[in-house]
Symmetry: C2
Subunit: 167 residues, 2 copies
């Protein structure tokens, strides 16, 4: 299988899957007597069903080296999940469209390179790979449901896929 | 008026006002086939009333220099507000207990020095000063209500207070 091309992470390219959280290129308005620029509502937290509880967690991810081997995709059917790097790491954002039989369509897998100033918010139901922090261990702020509602479908990849470093 | 002493930001000291969001000293469990440590639910998003919408924003704060002059306190009565630094800045967290007549009790003002690895989540109704990023401009990830519900009470300080740098 040929490798997966790495694309830069942009709002437009990522829009089928969720939101890119970044100040660059976003509008803002002044608050706090002009001492703060508010880049408002770059992402919206989704949650379906009764009495959702939203929490803020930290994910400390191992540093992956290229070539990166993908082995599983997952989705959160009743809530969005946002990641923002807080240790200055690049990371890979790997997503796929939904296919037949409640599984991802592996032919649609895309990989985006996220910069340390970029977060992502996976929309409810978006198939994505678990955290792929690059090069060295890094911390990510995570905003998602924490009420214990069943909210994770996982599909192992029968044939592992590989992402090579772009030259 | 004598200056306000700066305290280190710890969970215990901050507990009357909200949650400290930090991995250090927090428990975690492994996820993602052991490649990620999840420091779960370090903070919980609060929202009262019908159909709250929670959003993720970026606040870009001016860099304040010591002595820092305080001029206003605010509170969000129907929702929590979380801040996490994403540009490596220290910042000041200034809070007060509620006093008479729906105003903060200025005699209870406390100032905490937050490190770049520490976020805070102001509980609903906690009186606090707007963002006080230190030294240089910095970005903060913010999680709060974005549905437009009336959610900000502001009280100007009749007599400005000053925080001096600790030696």
């Amino acid at each position: 299988m040929s490798g997966i091309r790495i694309e830069p992470l942009t709002r437009e390219a990522f829009s089928p899957f969720g939101e890119v959280i970044e100040a660059e290129g976003s509008s803002w308005y002044p608050i706090n007597a002009g001492t703060t620029e508010r880049y408002h509502r770059l992402a919206t937290v989704e949650s379906a069903g009764a009495d959702p509880v939203i929490g803020i967690s930290i994910f400390r991810g191992d540093g992956f080296q290229f070539p990166v081997h993908l082995s599983v995709l997952e989705r959160h059917p009743v809530g969005s999940q946002a990641f923002f790097p807080v240790s200055g790491n690049d990371y890979l954002v790997v997503v796929a469209e939904g296919g037949q039989g409640d599984k991802p369509d592996l032919a649609t897998i895309r990989a985006f390179l996220a910069k340390p100033t970029q977060g992502v918010n996976y929309r409810s139901g978006t198939w994505h790979h678990p955290l792929l922090c690059l090069e060295r261990e890094g911390d990510f702020l995570v905003v998602d449901r924490v009420d214990g509602a069943p909210n994770c479908d996982e599909v192992p990849l029968e044939k592992p896929l590989v992402i090579e470093k772009e030259e």
